[in-house]
Amino acid sequence: MTEQFKIVIVGAGPAGLSAAGRAHELDIAYVLLESAPHLANTIYAYQKGKYVMAEPSVLPLRSPYEFAAGTRESILESWQQRSDQLDLNIRYRAEVTAIQGQQGQFTVSLQNGDQIAAENVVLSMGMQGNLRKLGAEGEDLPFVQYQLQDPDEFEDETIVIVGAGDSAIENALALAGQNNVYIVNRRDEFARAKERNVQLITKAIEDGVIDCFYSSSINRVEALVQASSNGEQGLLVLNTADGEATLEVHRIIARLGAIPPRKFLEACGIELPSADPSAVPAVDQYYQSNVAGLYVIGELSGAPLIKPSMNQGYEVIHAINGDPVAPVDEELLWDKLNQLVGVSNVKQALDLLQQGIAFLGSLTHMQMREFMLDSELIFPSPGTVIYQKNDYSDEFYSLFSGDVSLIANIDVPDQAMNLQPGEFFGEWSLISGRRRAETVTAGKNCVLLKTSRRAMRKLMLSVPDVQQEIDRIAVQRTLQHFLVPGVPPEMLEPYAQRSSIERFKPHDVIVHAGDAPDVFRLIRCGSAMVKRNLSGKDVVVSFLPVGSFIGEVPLLSEKPSRETVLATVNTETIRVDRDILIELMDQFPAVRSRLDMSVQETLRKEIQFANHPEAGDLVAFMMDQGIGEGTDVLMIDETLCVHCDNCETACADTHGGVSRLDREAGPSFAYLHIPTSCRHCEHPHCMTDCPPDAIHRATNGEVYIEDSCIGCGNCQSNCPYGVIQMGVVKENKTSLFSWLLFGKGNAPGSKDGDASQNDKANGSDKLAQESATPKIKKAVKCDMCKGLVGGAACVRACPTGAAIRLAPEKMVDLLRERNRRAS
């Protein structure tokens, strides 16, 4: 018997459930097929107790099911309840193996041989059912697994983890405590994972806690005929750099990610846009694939998160039912766009913006919508200052209409530059992470599109065209700013075109000693240090922040470089080859004098360092501690510090009882101590992966965390300097007077413990309030005392003058002072 439905939905994940629920509400004949014996298998397979996030937070949820951030367990339970309540037509253990036919008459075949007829099919099967396998003989043996739910389940086993991504590393670390763990990495380093994970795994490998096979791949897996004396059941054969290696193992856990079920999709007639194994089917605005009547939603259509997947489930049902709803973000977008003159709907407005702003031209409509969610239109009145030179803000602006003027040097106002509609500005701070290089003032009829740093970086990463276009202009402007101030950047176009951008990782060599003097470089992001070999020892002779030149001395003197230049952090340079630079010098005499100035400065610095070789070691130490990428670093002079901890107490007192600095912790060198406290990096590592985008940078460079933090801990693990903690911050503070005179409240700066006692004594209404909003731990870190008049409390509270906060550009002064003291 074949049943017949208007809609067959394949896969009861968030997307499929939401679709089925909506079909149910609209009384459409549907069935939901799920291969697992329970709902939402992907979420079911999350690690126990995982805190699931509901992102993007600005996006409303449109679904018959509820979904808010919470634990895996609570979410699964609420969905189960809702399904029971709706009496959903769901079939478990119903794995779909094939779909044939066309719109109106599809045949859906199940594993058990059943067939179901369908007018339309919605594929919402995710990708987790198709985990990437080892791709070698034995990949399906019972002791080879592709997921890990509960690391505590295993003890005293020999386990091999295959993979170098975050899940692989996290699993390896979680298992290493009570097992003998190996990790197999195809490459010679861990590059794909989050920085923090890379650090942890590298350390574990160095400490011998985990053994790593680098540059190795799986040859084959075999089952042992007889388990070994320790209970190992399998044999893993690896191809390593030194030939084959074999290991007896209890278990192999491969974490290689998931890919779309290509074979299945192609058998259904769905075309995939590229041969890339991770390519997903292309769908139209109603999620319909190239096969009419066959719809694809959720992760399989490229929506990577739960909430958007659920919204798609709702929308696809309406589309099939013939009454399509506007996408859920329509209203949000309209609120942002309706002030544009002459537009009557979102699509029109977005098209207009795309036509008007050149670098947006290559975006698809969906990308444009996403971009606009993170952007905002502003209509500044003439004369409004958009931002000031030397501010630390980092938004990116595109000029849609009217004009703005940019002044880089306040003293020479006639060098102001006017931008045309369609151009953008603010790219310098976005790229370099440094202060604004110019002051921007709105002109007449100015309409600007303002985009957050995060959205811009995301866009540049995902759309190469955008990156290219922005870099094209940025290179012109950077060359102009540092080499030929005063000429219109367009004039540098031919030179910029022939320059290129190079990217270096920390410790990469930019220039080797002895390299021919034929490349000039300008650091546009990151920093570098210069080493010279003095009597057999590599000595640091200089430190180059953003905006510095590399190679100008060899070029002008026409002698090979005597120094090695190394990137201290992730660094980008603009590379200008010798002949281009010479042409540039010929056309613009100013270039020559700029270079001469830089040569002088470089030589002066080098003499300084050469007289005090020990200062070089100090620089090297400071680079290691992230001063090269910091904008403001707490440093304690150990010859002054009396260990009174007034600095910590001051911080705790002004920051809800949790000190953001740990004075004792952190390294020291030559009586200079760098306590554990935020360095306010140019490109803050903590910002890379904050789901609610709660980490920001204020105009003075302070990197701070907003209340919207959900306590996921990502920033804590991303910070390479360990300065972020998870803590409960209290608001209430008693005044100093009542403490001094009446002993009321907390002693200034008292920490967590004493304060909670105090809460109890504070009367019941307050308690009731607090229990209503459970205290969740949020990320806390130094905010450079952003809100405090007078600045850093720790520095101001230090009685001896031992504690200072220092910007890296002042580092040379610090070294000079120390040199003076030393001599």
Binding site: T639, V642, T649, F669, A797, C798, G801, I804
Partner: protein, 306 residues
Amino acid sequence: MHESFFRYQNFFWLKVAIALSAVSIALYAWHTPSVVANGGTWLGYTLGTVAAVLIVWLAWFGARKRDYSSSSSKISGWLSAHVYLGLALIVVATLHTGFQFGWNVHTLAYGLMIVVIVSGMYGIYLYAMLPGRLASNRQGMTREQMLDEIRDLDETALGLADQIDSRVHEVILRSVEKPGVMLSFWQQLTAGKLGKDPLDSAERFLRGYQNDLVDATLFLDAQPQSGAQATMMYISNVMAGMEAEKVDKLRALMETVGRKKSLLKRTRRDVQLKALLQLWLFFHVPVSMALLAALLIHIISVFLYW
């Protein structure tokens, strides 16, 4: 850049203090009262008032120091002023008295003031001398790390001792069980130099034990090698092997104990230095409170009985 409170803003407060003292001295020299110079003349009143205001302000430092959200200048500036103006008090207050000292409450206030000032001088002597020493003694470790490492060394030592014999184990255990670092108030200040240290006796014991062992090994090796004693020879070799292993273990143990000893010494030194840096304040502050009380009595009494 780093700027110690001594040099705060190019010795600004030192200059102010010198100026204040100079003006006081000049006035005192110029002033020729009808009576012998004392606190009752107009200059006496003036200097006394200045001195009293200074004292109250100096004492207020304790409160200011704890008002962390106050935005008025840096505490290192306050301390700089505290130190130099505190020293200037010696001049101002002394001139106020007109050198009329006696056994009365007035001179008590004066005496207390001098005591506070002298203790303050001791304090800044410590502030100047100790931080560098404390840092080099730490060798880049935190106190926590030092204690952790001591615990690790203890464990290693116990493990090794266990493999040697029970007597050694017992001795080591004794040296571990006695709290080695956190000492009494007095011991903190003297870096625990008092009394017998179980670690010293453990070390002495180990040295003796090692000598015995080495002797025994040598003795065994020195056995005559006649054919008749081949069996004996065999046994002695085995024993020598065993003993040699013990000697090795013992050497490792002694090294561990030695490392612990030097680390312990450094930790105690750390405790001592930190204590020195802080404990003087427990004298400075109470005496300054007493001074405030005595000063109050002085002022009230001169108005009542004058």
